[in-house]
Structures are given as structure tokens and as C-alpha cells.
């Protein structure tokens, strides 16, 4: 006996389509187009009342999808490949709806598609979307269980869904807090490639490409003290030590320095690093040590020559780590092997030699100062879209228009020509401070390149920023403000709308930061910390499953009690009628389902004739209340209610 579930096909297709919305942003465009085609054709079949294609066609489509995934990702495993495959197969599954189980499986696939999207994004917007999607899937399951669907009855499916959601929240909270966070021991098995961001080479244009990105790179939460001045925050990503004129790269080295680990009593900065930015752990030059909340992550960190920190493998998830920095922001960079910071691939040209000769000072500091000063005036300009510079000489003597990478690369090379150890540092400068909290958001547009040289007199590395010589406003205002006021890649209508766009983004960013902070912070360490607050010792931590079980039983008991207390809403006349029937039942007058009030009246007359005189006025009143167009007033209802109550007290003649 099969129920006719065809009415549920269109809602299911709509559900799958809604489920695939994040796909537009997270998956390749061709997969979105395929999904659209699959779902559109399925919708057409429903409207045209045509049969679905034979099963071999669906199998063929599945094979084609698998091949397309392989072509794109060279694998069908891994987060993105498997996620994309899952979304496409979910669309194809809508062609295989033969029984209730198929509909159920399709809605379960929607949950898995949701999960695959969450692997790629956990933003606030996605979270809001997830809530809506989960509610819709559940409402669909309600409709599926009732084996009917009507768009007009959506409220009937949504209302119990909301009630169920409401009841589920306490269990969700208890599970979230008490469920022991364990490691499965599996890696994600995917080689993440940096999508955008800092790399270990610098070429003209590499930073200026990045600066057009509003994508969040990391958030820095200053746990002690205020947020420092933006101009003092240089987030070091990678040290580039091989000069090739304007191009800089990093020497391949296996050298690793054991990183300082743990908190050493300095100022703590908590960093929430977004995935997709290679393996760099951004730090300040005042960083003494770096640490992760969970000690098992310790072995993942390495410190590179030049004092930058990296993960051994590219990050795949959002990571949280702490920087322990020296007070007053004092730079703590080790001297290292200075010879490697003097290498140049090419000898300076005659024109360069002549320039360096003019810039040479009596002391090292004077030379550095002269080189920097050379960029102030002398026709140098700052631009985010500089003309192509073929070489260092071409930039310095011909185009003279450049971005931070041009100035950093040329300054460091000129310093090396002058026999001063120097290196280019790539990373981020500044960030956008939060309105409410002590953190800064650092985005792609804050990408920057600057120079460090070794000060012989002070025996320490010093940071210089040649971009500040050319365009001081860029550093003082921050990239965002600078771009709002000056040169911008954004359309004019956005810039003209009184910066509403940036303000709105900042507000969203506040919420997002809090949400992401919550999501990332609640790990094993935080779980232990939280439970310790409730007096749960470390030794009791192993008993968490028991506590979880007890909590669930307790919630079950409370919910059951609440359910038992629930009173259905009956109209006053229905309530009175029920009370009357209950009394008549005691008098052995049984109402059959088909019995109306008049039949009941006849039964009373036949079985308890002496009581009929009491029952008749009540039944007449109830018939009046129920079936006439003139509802009874309150006094009449009160009178009927009193009569029903009195009826219970009467002794029944035998």
C-alpha cells in the first residue's frame, strides 16, 4: 500500500534548490550550472506530468558528474571535490523518488550538503542560512510523515517545527558543552592550496593584486591593554631573503629554529586565522613565543630564519593561536646569519652605482636615511595600478610609479648594494579596529611589504617602510580609509553613499567576530576550563559521557512532564460537551462516534428517563451554541457550565 507522494516532489526540489544556495559562492560555477539544469528539468517533468528518464540515464549522468569532478579536482575525495560531488548527486537523487524512503534519503542528503558547505565557510551569514535551511528540511520531514503537502498549509508544517526546535535547544546546549571533544586521528586528507594571500615570493603586482581583496585574513584580539596604533602594527608573514632586483624570493632551507612556546608573561594577542592563507602564522616583531590553546598542536609550529612562524602544513580550518609579545612593542629579532642578507643576483648597473654613490652616508644610518629620502620627491609616486616595471633600474629611473612591493624590493636591494644586510618582509600592515571590542580585523587589502635592515651600531634588526616616504597617508589612515578618500577600486556609487557600505560591513564584522570567536574558542581546552568553573576536576573529565547521559535523562523527564501538563485549547462549548459526555458515561450512556446531541438525548430518555429533565436543557443550550448563528453570551455559558457541574453531583437512580 503506497501513499501518493507526488505532491511532495516539487517541495523537495525547492528544498534541494534552497539547500544549494551557498554553492553559488563556494563551488565552481560549472557545478552550479549543472545543478540548475538538473533541478530545472526535474521541475519541468513534474509540471508536464512526464515520467523521469530511465534508470540507466541517471546512472550515466552520475558517471558524467564523477568524471567532471575528477577533471576539475583530479580527485573525488577531499573537502571540495567530495562536497561538489555530493551536491550534484543530491540533485540527481530527485530523479529517483519512488517511495517514502527516497524522499527521506534526499532530505538527509540536504543535511550532508549543508555540512560540506560548513567545511568551507562558517560565517555568520552561512550560520543564519543554516538555521533557515535546517528548519525547512525539518518542516519537509513533517509533511513527508503526513504524506501530503499543500503550500497553503506551510504554517501547519512550520509551527510544529519551531516547537520542536525550541524543545531541542536545551539538549543542543548540553551536548555542545558536555560532549567530549575527541580527535578522530584522521587528517582531512586534502592538500590545501592558498587561495589568495601572502606567498613566499614577491614580484611587482603580487601585493597590489591582493590589496583588492576584502577577504578576511585574520582577527587579532588584544587580550591585555588597548589596541596599539595602526601604524605600529606590522604583521610579519614571510621573510624574503633572495634578491633579484624587483623580484624577491625565499631561499629554500630546511633550517628550523625551535619556536618559543607558551606564555611568558608578556602581552597576549589572540589571533583567529582564516583558512586558505598558506601556512604563515602572522606575528609582530616583538613576538617572544607563540602557542596554541591545545598543547597537541605544539609540534605543528616551526620558526623560520628571520623570526617568522609557520605551520608545518597549510591550514585547513580556522586556527586560533596566541602571540606572547614583549612589552612596549620592543623588537626581538635575532641577528642570524648576516651573510645571507647581503646576496644580490645581479651586479648594480652603472646608473645604479652612480645613484648609490650619491646616497652613501658617513655612517650606515645615514646611508639608510638617504636611500629612504630618495623616494620622497624625485618624482616618485604611489599607485595601486603602477605601470609595468621591467627591472629595478626601469622603476628607479624611468617609471618611478610603484606600489609598496616596488619600494620595499628596491630599497632592500639598494641596501644590499650598499653592503647593508637587508630583507623584505611580506605580511599585513594595520587592520580595522573594532567598535566594541579589543580586536582588529586584517583583510587582504591590508597586505603590505616592507624592509628590515641590520643596524650594526645597535646590533639589531630595524624595520623601515619606504612606502611611508612616498605616501605617508597610506599608513596613517590605513588601507581602507586611504582607499575611501583616494584611489579606490570600488565603484563610485558605493564610495558616494556616505561610506554606508563600510559602516554596515563593520557592524556585520562585529557580530561575525563574536560568532567566529565563539565557534573557534570552544575547543577541548575551553571545555575543560568551563567545566572547571563548575567544579569539575580534570579527573572527572573522563566521566563526561556519564554526565551527558544524566543530563539528557533529566531533560527528557522535564520535557515529558511539560508535555503531560499541556492543555489543548477547546472551545467553551466543546469543553462543556466533553464534561457532559464524561458524566453520561458514568450513567452507562455511551456515545457512539456517529451519535449527535439529539441521538444522545434520545438515549438519555431511554436509559435514564428521570435524568432527562436535567440533561435536555444542557444539550439544547449546547446545540444552540454550536449550530446557531447566535453564539451564547457569557451568562448563558456560565449557566450551562453550572448545570453540567451540578449534573455530576446528582445521584443516578438505579
Amino acid at each position: 500500500m503506497k501513499a501518493d507522494l507526488r505532491a511532495l516532489t516539487l517541495p523537495l526540489i525547492a528544498l534541494v534548490a534552497f539547500n544549494l544556495l551557498p554553492q553559488l559562492a563556494l563551488r565552481p560555477a560549472w557545478s552550479s550550472v549543472l545543478c540548475f539544469i538538473f533541478l530545472s528539468y526535474r521541475t519541468f517533468l513534474v509540471y508536464a506530468n512526464l515520467p523521469v528518464p530511465p534508470r540507466w540515464v541517471i546512472w550515466l549522468a552520475q558517471v558524467v558528474v564523477g568524471v567532471a569532478i575528477w577533471q576539475h579536482y583530479h580527485s573525488i575525495f577531499g573537502d571540495e571535490a567530495a562536497g561538489t560531488l555530493l551536491t550534484l548527486l543530491t540533485c540527481l537523487k530527485t530523479y529517483e523518488l519512488r517511495n517514502k524512503r527516497d524522499y527521506f534519503v534526499n532530505s538527509m542528503l540536504c543535511y550532508l550538503v549543508l555540512m560540506s558547505n560548513m567545511l568551507l565557510d562558517q560565517s555568520l551569514i552561512l550560520t543564519i542560512y543554516v538555521i533557515a535551511d535546517v528548519v525547512l528540511i525539518m518542516a519537509f520531514l513533517y509533511a513527508l510523515e503526513s504524506e501530503t503537502f499543500s503550500w497553503k498549509a506551510m504554517r501547519g508544517y512550520l509551527q510544529p517545527t519551531f516547537m520542536l526546535t525550541f524543545k531541542a535547544v536545551p539538549i543542543l546546549v548540553v551536548c555542545f558543552v558536555l560532549f567530549p571533544r575527541f580527535s578522530t586521528g584522521f587528517g582531512s586528507g586534502q592538500q590545501t592550496v592558498g587561495k589568495t594571500g601572502i606567498t613566499d615570493e614577491l614580484k611587482p603586482g603580487s601585493i597590489s593584486q591582493l590589496i583588492s581583496s576584502e577577504e578576511l585574513v585574520f582577527r587579532a584580539n588584544f587580550l591585555k591593554g588597548d589596541v596599539p596604533l595602526r601604524r605600529s602594527l606590522y604583521w610579519r608573514g614571510a621573510i624574503l631573503d633572495r634578491s633579484n632586483g624587483l623580484d624577491w624570493t625565499r631561499e629554500k632551507t630546511t633550517e628550523r629554529i625551535n619556536p618559543g612556546y607558551g606564555a611568558n608573561g608578556g602581552d597576549q594577542i589572540e589571533i583567529f586565522l582564516e583558512p586558505g592563507f598558506e601556512k604563515f602564522l602572522f606575528s609582530l616583531d616583538s613576538t617572544r613565543s607563540i602557542s596554541f590553546p591545545n598543547d597537541f598542536n605544539r609540534s605543528r609550529i616551526t620558526k623560520k630564519p628571520g623570526g617568522t612562524f609557520e605551520l608545518l602544513a597549510p591550514i585547513q580550518n580556522r586556527e586560533r593561536y596566541f602571540l606572547d609579545t614583549a612589552k612596549e612593542g620592543e623588537a626581538l629579532l635575532e641577528q642570524g646569519d648576516l651573510a645571507r642578507y647581503l646576496q644580490t643576483n645581479e651586479a648594480p648597473s652603472a646608473e645604479m652605482k652612480k645613484l648609490l654613490q650619491t646616497l652613501k652616508g658617513k655612517e650606515q644610518g645615514q646611508t639608510v636615511s638617504n636611500i629612504l629620502s630618495h623616494f620622497r620627491g624625485n618624482g616618485f609616486e604611489y599607485s595601486m595600478e603602477p605601470p609595468a616595471a621591467k627591472s629595478l633600474d626601469h622603476f628607479l629611473f624611468k617609471t618611478k610609479i610603484g606600489f609598496c612591493e616596488h619600494y620595499a624590493a628596491s630599497t632592500a636591494t639598494m641596501l644590499r648594494y650598499s653592503n647593508i644586510p637587508a630583507r623584505v618582509v611580506v605580511g599585513f600592515q594595520g587592520g580595522n579596529p573594532s567598535f566594541l571590542e579589543n580586536y582588529m580585523s586584517v583583510r587582504g587589502q591590508d597586505a603590505h611589504a616592507w624592509v628590515e635592515y641590520f643596524d650594526e651600531a645597535g646590533k639589531r634588526w630595524r624595520r623601515i617602510d619606504p612606502t611611508a616616504q612616498v605616501n605617508p597617508a597610506r599608513l596613517a589612515l590605513g588601507s581602507q580609509t586611504y582607499m575611501q578618500n583616494g584611489e579606490s577600486w570600488l565603484p563610485n556609487w558605493i564610495m558616494d553613499s556616505n561610506n554606508a557600505y563600510f559602516r554596515a560591513r563593520a557592524v556585520i564584522d562585529e557580530f561575525e567576530a563574536s560568532w567566529i570567536g565563539f565557534l573557534v574558542r570552544f575547543d577541548l581546552a575551553r571545555q575543560k576550563e568551563l567545566l572547571a568553573k563548575f567544579g569539575m576536576e580534570e579527573t572527572l573529565f573522563r566521566a563526561l559521557p556519564v554526565f551527558l547521559l544524566l543530563a539528557l535523562v533529566l531533560i527528557l523527564a522535564v520535557l515529558y512532564f511539560l508535555e503531560a501538563q499541556k492543555r489543548e485549547k477547546l472551545s467553551p462549548e466543546d469543553r462543556l460537551y466533553r464534561d457532559l459526555l464524561s458524566t453520561l458515561n458514568k450513567w452507562k450512556i455511551e456515545r457512539k462516534p456517529a451519535d449527535g446531541p439529539l441521538t444522545l438525548m434520545d438515549k438519555v430518555r431511554a436509559i435514564q428517563p428521570k435524568m432527562a429533565v436535567h440533561v435536555e436543557p444542557i444539550l439544547e443550550g449546547l446545540i444552540e451554541a454550536r449550530f446557531s448563528n447566535r453564539p451564547l453570551n457569557r451568562d448563558q455559558m456560565d449557566s450551562l457550565s453550572l448545570q453540567v457541574r451540578n449534573l455530576r453531583k446528582l445521584s443516578v437512580p438505579r
Partner: protein, 317 residues
């Protein structure tokens, strides 16, 4: 075995288990938790725990949807082997509650449920009549099958059920088959034992003794008013159609097939409005006519024990 079943499945007690869909749902949650742990992804943990919470609460709701609901057996219709037989029940609830997707189906090795009942109950409904349609695997007098009152509301993740074992019998007649032709027996002169009388009014050919089950329309009321004796009017042309349905199972003949032939002859007699009498291994039925008489005969056929239950059949002996 039946006792064990009776002991395990007590009447009116609620039992609850996840459905296969519930198992699938739970497997999905496990996948989510493993993924969340692998990627240390709290958002997926939240989704997994939410789904688990829904699973948990839906268990409660499924159980509660059946609480306070009882099933009362009204009775069963009689029918032929192979036909749909209706079993009638009341779903009764004591407290005013909304109950959704209550399903009733029989649970028996003798019957297969063809149409199970599916009803919602509103708070103002104390009882609701439901009908389950079954088909018997064989003819006979069967015990009323145990019946399951169940629900999978709200999400189909759990199935809560109650078992009822109503007392009663369901009579399943042998399916009428057209077998060898049975010739009507003509009335002879000496057949006064049939109670044939000459019509006092002359409107009808004959009167014969009334047998219970015969149509009231055929009763000679005027004659009854005068004599206070019940006679049935026999029309001209019909009076000579009388069938004697014999119990004459040949030695190697299949009893069940023969019963089906007998069932077919009864139907034929009823269709022709002929009188008929019948004999079975257990009983013989006096001549009579009409639907009620036919039912009497069919019941007698249903009661003939199957050959495996002991060969008492006269014809077979």
C-alpha cells in the same frame, strides 16, 4: 510462542523503536560528529547536536502521540476467501488531545492488511471509528487477528505501537467457484415435507414453510393474519427450482476445491432465487432461500475443518 509474544507484547503498553529512517538519520548524525571532530569544526558540531536533539525530542513526541489512546474492537465483517474483509474499531482517547497520524493495521499470519487505517484526532473527538481491510490467506473460522495501533509522528524517526488482541472470530467463506453444473431438483408429488401448500389467494402458485433468513417480502402476510402461521410465497416458475447441494467429495478430490464449488452453487441458487439445502461433513442445512440462508450455508462451509485437521469428512471416508 504465542504465549511468549503475549508476555513480551502486553496489551495497551507503548513500545517504541527507531524506524529504518531513524537509523539512517542517526547514521547521518554520526557522520556529522566524526567530520566535526576531524576538522574541529564547531558549527558542524552544532548541526550534529541539533539533529540529535531533534531525534531525542521526536522520540518523546512519538511516544506521547500514542499515550492515552486506546483501540476498541467493534467487529469484523464476513467475507469470501480472497475478498477484502473489513475489521472495525474505535480509536478512543480519554483526554482532549490532538493526535496525529494514528495508524491501525492487523498483525497476523492468517491475514494480510490491505488497507490500514490512518486517522488524526482532534481534542474534541473522544472516539473515532476506523476500518482496516484485510485479506485472509485461507477460508475458515479464524480468531480475530491481533491489531497494532501505531504512529510515527512527527518525523517518522520513531515508531511507537500498542498491540491489542481482541476476542472474536472472523468467518471466511470459501471463494465461490464455478464447478460442475448442479441441476435443480424438480418437486415431486410426495414432497409434502417441503411444506408446499396451495395458495389460498390463488395469486401465487404455492406456499411453503418459512425458514429463518428468507426475505420478509416473500412472507404471505394475509395468510399469517388469518392463521398465525408463517409461510413463504412461491411464485410460479420458481417453485420447481430447488437445489440440493450434496457433500460428495470424491476420494481423491481436493476438499478445498469442492468447498469452493459448493460456495459457487450457493451463489448460483441465490442469484436464481431458488431454494436450496446443503449438507457438509459436520452438518446438514434445511432448505431455505435468500441471502441470510446463503450466509448460514457459507458459514457452515467455512467451518468444515481443513483436511489436515483430521479427516472426519463423511464424503472423504
Amino acid at each position: 510462542m504465542a504465549d511468549l509474544d503475549r508476555w513480551i507484547m502486553r496489551e495497551n503498553r507503548i513500545y517504541i523503536m527507531p524506524t529504518s529512517n531513524g537509523g539512517l538519520y542517526l547514521a547521518g548524525i554520526v557522520v556529522l560528529i566524526l567530520t566535526a571532530s576531524t576538522y574541529n569544526n564547531n558549527l558542524i558540531f552544532i548541526l550534529a547536536f541539533f539533529l540529535f536533539a531533534v531525534f531525542f525530542v521526536s522520540m518523546l513526541q512519538t511516544h506521547y502521540n500514542l499515550k492515552g489512546v486506546r483501540l476498541q474492537y467493534i467487529g469484523a465483517e464476513e467475507g469470501f476467501h480472497g475478498d477484502r474483509i473489513g475489521l472495525n474499531y474505535y480509536i478512543v482517547q480519554k483526554r482532549p488531545r490532538t493526535k496525529k497520524s494514528l495508524q491501525v493495521r492487523s498483525r497476523s499470519k492468517t491475514f494480510v492488511t490491505l488497507k490500514q487505517a490512518r486517522e488524526d484526532m482532534r481534542p474534541q473527538e473522544m472516539m473515532k471509528a476506523v476500518r482496516v481491510e484485510v485479506r485472509a490467506f485461507r477460508r475458515g473460522v479464524h480468531k480475530t487477528p491481533p491489531v497494532i495501533l501505531e504512529t510515527q509522528y512527527p518525523l517518522g524517526l520513531f515508531r511507537a505501537w500498542k498491540v491489542y488482541r481482541p476476542e472474536g472470530e472472523i468467518i471466511v467463506y470459501p471463494a465461490p467457484q464455478s464447478g460442475p453444473a448442479l441441476s435443480p431438483r424438480a418437486f415431486d408429488q410426495g414432497e409434502q415435507d417441503q411444506g408446499l401448500r396451495t395458495s389460498p389467494d390463488g395469486d401465487f402458485g404455492e406456499l411453503k414453510n418459512y425458514f429463518p433468513g428468507e426475505s420478509y417480502h416473500q412472507i404471505a402476510w394475509k395468510h399469517y393474519a388469518r392463521t398465525h402461521e408463517l409461510y413463504t410465497k412461491v411464485h410460479w416458475g420458481a417453485e420447481d427450482r430447488h437445489y440440493v447441494i450434496p457433500w460428495a467429495v470424491a476420494n481423491k478430490q481436493d476438499v478445498e476445491t469442492y468447498l469452493e464449488y459448493m460456495s459457487g452453487w450457493i451463489r448460483k441458487a441465490v442469484d436464481e432465487n431458488a431454494s436450496f439445502e446443503m449438507e457438509t461433513a459436520l452438518t446438514s442445512i434445511h432448505p431455505g432461500r435468500g441471502g441470510e440462508h446463503a450466509r448460514l450455508c457459507w458459514r457452515a462451509l467455512a467451518m468444515v475443518p481443513p483436511p489436515s485437521a483430521g479427516r472426519k469428512s463423511k464424503g472423504a471416508s
